[in-house]
Symmetry: C2
Subunit: 501 residues, 2 copies
Amino acid sequence: MAYTDFSVEEIDTVMQDAWNAFHVYRKFSLKQRAAFMKAIAVELENCGDALIHTAMSETNLPEARLRGERARTIFQLNSYAEACEKADWLGAGIDTAIPDKVPPKPDIRKMLVPLGPVVVFGASNFPLAYSTAGGDTASAFAAGCPIIVKAHPAHAQTSEIVANAILSAASTCNMPKGIFAHVYGAGFEVGKALVMHPHTKAVGFTGSYTGGKQLFDWGNQRKDPIPVFAEMGSVNPVFLMPEKLDAAATEIATMYAGSITLGVGQFCTNPGIIIGVESKALQTFVHDLGKAIQKTAPAAMLHNGIATAYKKNKDSALLQDDVHLVAESETPSAVENPDGGLSGLPTIATATGQAFLNNPVLHQEVFGPYSIIIRCKDMQEMIEVAKNLEGQLTSTLMATENDIKDNDELVEAVKNICGRFILNSVPTGVEVCLSMQHGGPFPASTDARFGSVGADSIKRFARPIAFQNWSNNLLPDELKDENPLGIWRTVNNELTKAAVL
Amino acid sequence: MAYTDFSVEEIDTVMQDAWNAFHVYRKFSLKQRAAFMKAIAVELENCGDALIHTAMSETNLPEARLRGERARTIFQLNSYAEACEKADWLGAGIDTAIPDKVPPKPDIRKMLVPLGPVVVFGASNFPLAYSTAGGDTASAFAAGCPIIVKAHPAHAQTSEIVANAILSAASTCNMPKGIFAHVYGAGFEVGKALVMHPHTKAVGFTGSYTGGKQLFDWGNQRKDPIPVFAEMGSVNPVFLMPEKLDAAATEIATMYAGSITLGVGQFCTNPGIIIGVESKALQTFVHDLGKAIQKTAPAAMLHNGIATAYKKNKDSALLQDDVHLVAESETPSAVENPDGGLSGLPTIATATGQAFLNNPVLHQEVFGPYSIIIRCKDMQEMIEVAKNLEGQLTSTLMATENDIKDNDELVEAVKNICGRFILNSVPTGVEVCLSMQHGGPFPASTDARFGSVGADSIKRFARPIAFQNWSNNLLPDELKDENPLGIWRTVNNELTKAAVL
């Protein structure tokens, strides 16, 4: 199916509708927002097999994965809806007046309010959970913002089905016209027009560094800069600490062969760099990981663009000085590549710590089932590697308690670069929960102070407003003395659900 | 006294020291951070009269104001220290593992950690409370960040006294070398070098739009963009609603004559635009405000640069089409201008709603004791004015309950542009408390999602990190099962101070 790019005039109409909808939607109660989000979840379920089959044909992802991803998308909508209504994220606070203070202290009450229309760019690798009705959409609706989704060209039809589900829920819930719009654009022009439009007040993006950085720059170049939250992936370094590696080299190799090749390596949390200190145990690890990789079949990637980029970036990495191929898959693919394109060939390389320190190319993400093992000559070199890594979504330590206690400088350096700090596990698999942080220092994301998974991601799209000297009946329910919504509030510096007396 | 600009090499040394200090300071407990901040407060008190007299000579501000400002600065340090230790701002959260979930849910725990060295640019109009040991400094120290202050050239000697107080407290509290540095630079080069330095991880600024926007742009143009929080002031519109104005025109005029001329109008919350609908009551208001302004004596401004800019911007505003002078001070100044320069002459102008809508010059801040009254032909035009205003630190409604209930569109439009929404009071006077929001949509500040007054401003300089699968004894105290610090945490979606069982 072919989709036509939206014109500048069409985008202007969409944004005007979103702006009008904003003025209605932001006055809807948290309960109404939550009901709308839950209705979208129901509609997604109602899409049935048609959605799954369309997504399969557009993304090459297997059925089980897509069913799981829809379940996750529904879970996100429902759990963010619950969080929205619970309102802990709202940061409601009240300082009551002290009239006899000099000067008198006025009554001040604060809560988050929505920023305005949010433009969402979906991810190619999560056609459901981080696309049209994905995490950014769920969090922006919870915040009280209308949403304009630019359909990902690689799964525009899937996106359209989901968009219709959202519009159907909007109709059921009597949402204002313009609460949601679905826009097509294969080139950069539509994206640019959306980010630069005066009615756009924030942007959510999941994808490549190049794409995310461009949106971020546009957002900042506006007459009135807007926040652009771009999650741009990372290489997710894994540090193999000596005592742990000695004890479990083979076990770690097996664990990581699975993580590196999961979903044909197409996760932003894929472990792209594994760092160890030269030792017999490291040799065992390299050998066993290589063997496991040889036995892992290649599989079709999301689309030919990604498969071609994978091959190019991998080949380029392997051509760098002092980089050696450890192993690549020797197992035939179980199924034909449906579109006749390239498959993602699981591949492991290795390089010395010095080679890594000297060559920025080796720091770059190779999106796909590829990982490079960095062999350091000693712990000091491992620390140097850690200190020279860019910002990451995740860092992982494979370590015993002694390893951690004996290597404070390394542990602190690794912690300092990441948004999620993992011990003795794998970075793939991002749990959707309130304590998750998915985001990290640049270039993992454009604002490390926020994340894009879990209900705290709502805060990206809201801002505090303080009401000064308002009478109780004119305040929003969230801030009224009697606390009619029964939410947590910080009253005169103390968290409480109690009414203000 | 003359201060020499720091060289690029000196700045590099300062930033390297700050970077080294960061790795020590961020491991200090919240209690240690709080103790350090309280020690600074004590040292500020110990500065005695010398500090006040130096500030008087550098800023032309009166003694009582500066003593009050020091008290406020001390209050900020102490109250943010208490908030720091209380740790509500830390957003600590725990999701415990569910091993039998499919796939298993890992243990995830989240809290805020400091960004790294923060560069602070002080405000000329708050030589103590928003300068060297001011709000940005207090919040960044609470967050766990070392600080580099660029002394404001207009009060470099005051800044040096305060810097020495901080260094003295740092010594008493055994802070690492580099925890605080004081840098001089009259030109833009030093500021640019500080913002662009790779070890700088965030910037705090209070001052002009031109200055703040430049820092923001530099921060975004870095290879790794950093958050630049610039509070750039605003015109703080005041809307006179019909029923209220009818009832209290004279009273409002008196109240606003005081607010417009307070501190020679040198507050970022100064009410620069007052909007009403043409009526007899508005004529009374204009008349009475004009009379009161005539009776208010001019006074020396902070320095000649500001006084010259005030005269230039005011004269330019008065020369615009359809702008008319209402009144200016006719009262002689009680004291000679100490440096022989210009005094800030209290002045009121007026223009029609249409003139305002047609002329962006009239939207701009005239920093000083000046305000323009916009006479709208009807409420619809007032709504148009509200919708055409840029982002503001504050908006104020002078309104009865009927005025509010009858004018929803206006109320919503006014609310949408501001960080603080005031009813029947004046915008000057920014209470330091947790529910305050000092910041607002661009151009009031560069990130409306944060504010620079109250302990929540700590959050500007911290980012969340999630610990996955860590054993209890290796976690930071804030996240340990037993909750040794006794802080509020969100455990499995519920706020509690209880231990995790």
